[in-house]
Every structure is written in structure tokens, then in C-alpha cells.
Amino acid sequence: MKVPVRITVNGRLIEREVEPRLLLVHFIRVFAELTGTKVGCDTSQCGSCTVLIDGVSAKSCTTLAVQADGADVKTIEGLADGEKLHPLQESFWNKHGLQCGFCTPGMILASHELLRTNASPSDEEIRHGLEGNLCRCTGYQNIVRAVRDAAGAMAAAEE
């Protein structure tokens, strides 16, 4: 039994008949043809599949596409404003918040969620906010610096 779903991914409406067991992450990678969102552990622990569903972070490997029917999904590819990188992307770049880059899309979207709920987090709050995202390269130091830097840049831009 296939069911129709309509999901807007980064502003583009995508309509497909899908098997109900299809995961949102596969809808994004296969039908939206956006491969920034990764499948890492596939058990909702590593966070590399993190996306925003209606503005709120979610693990797309633990969400069925049918659950996101009608929703507005944002992936790493939709974060920049045209050529202008999002402050989080800018600061991950500037502070070397990545090495191999596999966890980075999820890490940036989890950071987006953190700053949505807490605009000026302490280092401890940053670490707590990112505890659902695993990075095997950086030791997290530069990721924490990047998030701190982005929070400052976003606060400055608000003023």
C-alpha cells in the first residue's frame, strides 16, 4: 500500500506516493535528491540525520515520511541565504568545527535548535545541547567554539 505525501523541502514542494515504512531521511536523499543529510548510526543516537521539521529539530532516521506529510522541512542545503552562508555555517568554517564533515550537517542543525531555544548558551549548555550528535574527528572543542562564535555573531546581527 502506497500513500501520497506532500513535503516541502527547503521551499520546494515534493509530492510522491511512498511506502509508509519510508523514512524521512530517505525521502530527502532519494526524492528531494539532497544528500547533505546523512544516515550515520541509523538508531537515533548519532544525530547526523538531524533536520528541521516546521522549524524544530528532529532525527530524520527516526521519523517516517508520512509523519512529515504537509510539513516544511529544512536541511543543511536550505540554511544559507543564496550565496550568503548562515552564521553557523560561517563559524563552523572559521573555527574549524569540522574535519571529515560527515556529522557537520546534523551538528549545524542541532546547533540551530540550541540557539533557537537559548540565544546565548554557556559552553556547558552548548555541550548539553549537542549531546545527541556524535563527531569522531574534532574532539568537540572547535565545534563548541564555532557555536559560541555563531551565537555572538547572531546576537550582533540582531542589534
Binding site: M1, P20, R21, T43, S44, V56, S57, V66, E113
Partner: protein
């Protein structure tokens, strides 16, 4: 990983969910999916039909009155953790919800799904056991209330029947008592290796005319102690030995230490363990977490 194929139905109301459950024996209910989808992917569950109740608006939200809280089954862990009403009436519940998984998990996972899944390593069942919650269940014969002590029946088992839907959780107000949840988290999954929930009152004993005649001073004592433990037992366990060692005793480190030691007797021998922490190890460590939870609850009771 891919789940086995299933038929998908979306319920628009509790009544419609009931009809779908009746029409599809063995169907599983899908709320936030953060317990069910991992099971489907690992093929530990392969139901022929999944009924999505995730969009039923009447099942969402938190309301409070003088008696306590009513939490809709679809309320997410993030909503519970951030709720001022929950913090006021049942601080330990907000504290536990804020420690489930990680932020993205808390945005999707729901209290009803969590309870119906009945994972012994879960956090909320332990807190609700200590707070004496009542669960509202819609079934074939209408709505009924189930005491939290009768809801969990074993590892991943509840008293919910085939056609039942958990709709709401009622939590009596613990305002006036201090409550706390302290947990030993599994380092990767954040599930509770040990979780301890406490509600504790601080009152006075004596000071009446008999005491005055006898020359006995008014004493500050623990009252209305409720202690529950989870993570290392098949279902949340009220610790009657710990509670008995608290009531009418001075709220001191000595009292809390002695009461915490009594948890060993409450736990019995039916213990859960895994490659990370054996049952015996968890039992040996449990008093430490009980004592921490008692100290945290007592401190909050002092402020209440």
C-alpha cells in the same frame, strides 16, 4: 535499516483510532514514533498495520488546576520539560523529561508513547510512580482510570488491551513537597541505568501541649515520602523500605544515608543488567543515587 512493510492509517480523533484498532487486530499505535520506529527498523516489531495518532489535537497539551496536572498523551518531552505548570506541580517530571535522549528526541517523543512502550530503562514511569499518577485510557467500553501502580506489568508490558488508547496522564500536585529525579545515564543511549524519583515533605513533629509538658522540643521531620526506582527492575518500583526509614525522621545526611541503604531490601533479586552494567553492580550503586535524590528533594522541600 528498513521496517517490514505495513498498512498505514491516520486517525483524526480518539474515536476514529478506536474504530481503526477494532478493524485491525494487532495494529500498533504511532505517536511520536521514538519508541516504535526503532523497534520497526530492528524488526523486533512487524505489525501488519500502524495507526498514526500523532495528529489528534485533543491528545496534546498540559493543563493545571489546584489538584494537579492533566497531560495529554501526545505532549512531547520538550513541552513537559519547558512547562511552568509542570515545574510548579511536579518539578521532578520536568527534570526527568529534560534528561530523556537529546533535544531532537525530546522534540518528537511523547509521554504517552513512552509509557505505553514501558521500557524498564525509561525515566517517566519512575517519576510517575513516585508522584502517584493516574492514567486515563480510552477503550471499547469507554474511558477508565488506571493507577500507575497497576499500569506496568513487566518488561515492555502494560495493562493496556488490544483496543485501548492511553489518552492522558493525571499527576497530583506535589507542590509543598520537594521532588527530584536523579539518574545514572547510559553514556551512549541516555537511557536510565538507574533512575530514582523522590517526593518528600518537610514538616514538624511535637510542639503540642503534651510535648510541652514532657519538655520535648518541636522537631523538623520528613513527611509523606514517596520514592521510586527504575532502570534496574522490570517495572518501576515503589521503595516502601526507604519511605518507612524517612517518615518522622529528621531530614539529615544520616537519615538519608540509612534510608538509601534500605533500597537494597526493596529491590529484591529480579534485577536487570546488560554488558554495560550488571544487575549486581546496579544494585550496589543504587543507594548512592537514592541518597542524591533524597538530598535534592529535601533541598527543594526547604524552599517550597
Amino acid at each position: 535499516m528498513f521496517a517490514a512493510d505495513f498498512e498505514y492509517y491516520r486517525a483524526g480523533s480518539v474515536a476514529e483510532a478506536g474504530q481503526l484498532l477494532a478493524a485491525h487486530p494487532g495494529a500498533k499505535l504511532l505517536a511520536g514514533g521514538h519508541s516504535l520506529i526503532p523497534l520497526l527498523k530492528l524488526r523486533l516489531a512487524a505489525p501488519a498495520a500502524v495507526i498514526d495518532i500523532g495528529r489528534i489535537a485533543e491528545l496534546r497539551g498540559i493543563s493545571a488546576d489546584d489538584d494537579g496536572l492533566r497531560i495529554g498523551a501526545l505532549t512531547t518531552h520538550a513541552e513537559i520539560a519547558a512547562s511552568d505548570a509542570v515545574k510548579e506541580h511536579a518539578a521532578a517530571l520536568a527534570e526527568a523529561a529534560s534528561q530523556i535522549g537529546d533535544p531532537a528526541v525530546r522534540n518528537r517523543g511523547t509521554i504517552g508513547g513512552n509509557l505505553a512502550h514501558a521500557d524498564p530503562a525509561s525515566d517517566l514511569p519512575t517519576v510517575l510512580a513516585a508522584l502517584g499518577a493516574t492514567l486515563t485510557v480510552a477503550g471499547k467500553d469507554g474511558e477508565r482510570s488506571v493507577d500507575v501502580g497497576d499500569f506496568f506489568t513487566g518488561v515492555m508490558m502494560t495493562s493496556l488491551g488490544e483496543n485501548d488508547l492511553l489518552t492522558a496522564i493525571r499527576v497530583p500536585s506535589a507542590a509543598g513537597r520537594g521532588t527530584a529525579y536523579v539518574k545514572f545515564s547510559h553514556p551512549a543511549s541516555r537511557y536510565a541505568v538507574i533512575g530514582v524519583a523522590v517526593a518528600l515533605g518537610i514538616g514538624t513533629k511535637g510542639g503540642g501541649w503534651i510535648s510541652k509538658i514532657k519538655g520535648e522540643p518541636k522537631e523538623t521531620v520528613c513527611t509523606d515520602a514517596a520514592v521510586a526506582i527504575g532502570g534496574l527492575v522490570p517495572k518501576p518500583l515503589r521503595c516502601s523500605g526507604v519511605e518507612a526509614a524517612l517518615n518522622d525522621q529528621a531530614p539529615s545526611d544520616e537519615t538519608f544515608g540509612a534510608a538509601a541503604a534500605a533500597v537494597t531490601g526493596d529491590l529484591g533479586d529480579d534485577l536487570l543488567g546488560d554488558v554495560f552494567a550488571s544487575g549486581d553492580y546496579r544494585k550496589a550503586v543504587a543507594p548512592v543515587y537514592v541518597q542524591r535524590a533524597l538530598a535534592a528533594a529535601a533541598e527543594r522541600a526547604g524552599q517550597a
